[in-house]
Symmetry: C2
Subunit: 343 residues, 2 copies
């Protein structure tokens, strides 16, 4: 029996009169109710690992805006944490991790199958959400893609171009490949457990795909995504997988053709007409409004929202932003965006 | 009579057995002789505006490496400076400019044709270089593309995603468009004067093209480049123009088809096989070795250099990096790269 929910229909390849909509970072600092819950948690990691609070912030934007999908509240760096990396989120500075820069660091990581010990509270959050969410709202589980996760594990932080990861790749490809392999296995285990706990869609965030040199894109962006999607589909053949190779540029076409995903999330820089012509005939696209428009608001927001809907009206489309909503965004502008989409 | 120099032949669309080669930022801090000359100048701006010193640093990499082209030593922010913006380069922090955030700031800028007053020393550098360069080495003149220059003029500095420029564009499109127009006119005047002083090739650096939202790429990356190329060709029909819409992704194809340039410079993230198939049949491509390989060196450098040459061997190609060489690069690795290219 086919699933009637707009999000599931679009991901299955159906062209809908009104696209389903959700937003990257929809549970976030732009919402006063998020900031209130965040204040009750100790650290950001505590928020991720406390099922009651993580479920609460996941539900907040669903209650306020009636989005067509919820996305598990968590962080892509929980996988390195579960593999044994030290991890802290420094207020105003971002994440800090212990680094992997050679075979010794790699040897000290835990095996992939050991991640469940640390990640069990996340699965608990997923179960709580399946019970609490309205049945018409599917839950998206997610993980970071191996290359992106590796860039943080190698540099120990975000950097402007994730050069430390490329440096390791050139200097010690054996260690680099073993790290990618370990993360890939851990990610499969993590996502399978999310699905078994109740996630109905999975998204793979390769936020730093654009920092991959072109000749390495197939090996480190497409191949790991394909391996993960194949492992998920082996257990759950109909599970929709959304790939987000952010900054892939023309590489989006090869990714869409080869990664085995059911949808690609488009970053802000993708030209909608190109994606409609080159990607949408093959699979569902998701995106790609400039998040800054939710700060700017006004008629610029209305016009850009309608233009995005129109550009993708000829094929399967999930409306979203091209990147996460920012803390400076005005929640009233989200309402305005929804009116422009839903009329 | 056709020009026999490899750089000019490749830019004219000829496929050569060995590609001509130069490097972005080839006159730069990785060279001890650059650092010595830099120490003789007061500020970085003094270096740009002192013809004797600017010509000297332009010549240094030609003497040391025998590159197939020289590129004028200057900075893309000289145009805003010449338009009346205050400009300083803060050691270790990058450029700082007075900002343009509304019609009042715009009104205080000088007219486009007034830029020559400030930029005259640059033309003097070009003349000195034409006299000093071996005749087999053509000189590349350059400017920043209007969008990229505007991002700095609006933010007053480099930012991670040049959001201030997008914010102005959404909030006050009239001021934004007028600023783009002013920069475009000034850039045409500047580049025409460089060509008249002796530059034989022109390159337009749109370093922040990747920060343009997809729906605005045609309007703010392609259209200004087309206007500039058309104005240059009206006066100099055979002048080769190289466009560098860095981060354009799939937008490279539309740029190559519509901007009226003779070559496109490819950033590091472009997949060579895609560019060879989609761009090279139409025009010369330039690029795109990861500059980090000139830090890493070794067999990774050899292999990647040869792979780049091979990927583009079927059409017109100028070997270059995908971004500027970094201060940490080892000059010995540049020699190694040249051996891998030239055999």
């Amino acid at each position: 029996m086919s699933d009637k929910r707009p999000m599931m229909r679009a991901l299955a390849g159906e062209t809908l009169p009104v696209p389903p909509v959700w937003m990257m970072r929809q549970a976030g600092r732009y919402l006063p109710e998020y900031r209130a819950t965040r204040a009750r948690a100790g650290s950001f990691l505590d928020l991720c690992y406390t099922p009651e609070l993580a479920a609460e912030v996941t539900l907040q934007p669903i209650r306020r805006f009636g989005f067509d999908a919820a996305i598990l509240f968590a962080d892509i760096l929980l996988v390195p944490h579960a593999l044994g990396a030290e991890l802290a989120f420094v207020e105003g500075e971002g994440p800090r991790l212990s680094t992997v820069t050679g075979p010794g660091d790699l040897a000290r990581l835990r095996p992939a199958e050991a991640v469940h010990e640390t990640l069990a509270p996340v699965y608990e959050t997923v179960r709580a959400l399946r019970a609490a969410l309205p049945p018409e709202v599917p839950l998206i589980g997610f993980a970071g893609a191996p290359w992106t996760v590796a860039t943080y594990m190698i540099a120990g932080r975000g950097t402007p171009d994730q050069a430390p990861a490329r440096a390791l790749l050139y200097r010690d490809p054996a260690t680099f490949d073993a790290l990618i392999g370990r993360i890939t296995e851990a990610t499969i285990a993590y996502l399978l457990a999310q699905v078994e706990a109740g996630a109905e869609i999975v998204k793979l965030f390769d936020s730093w795909a654009g920092a991959l040199p072109g000749p390495l894109f197939a090996r480190y962006a497409i191949a790991p995504a394909r391996r993960i999607a194949a492992a998920l589909h082996a257990a759950h053949p109909r599970l929709p997988v959304i790939g987000f190779p952010r900054g892939a540029g023309a590489g989006y076409a090869a990714f869409a053709a080869e990664a085995g995903v059911q949808a690609v999330a488009l970053d802000t820089s993708v030209v909608p007409e190109w994606a409609a012509a080159e990607l949408q005939p093959r699979l569902c696209v998701q995106g790609n409004l400039d998040p800054l428009l939710l700060v700017a608001g006004g008629t610029a927001l209305d016009a850009a929202t309608r233009a995005c809907v129109r550009a993708f009206a000829g094929g399967p489309h999930v409306f979203n932003l091209g990147h996460g909503i920012t803390p400076e965004a005005d929640p009233a502008n989200v309402d305005r965006m929804l009116r422009a989409i839903r009329g």
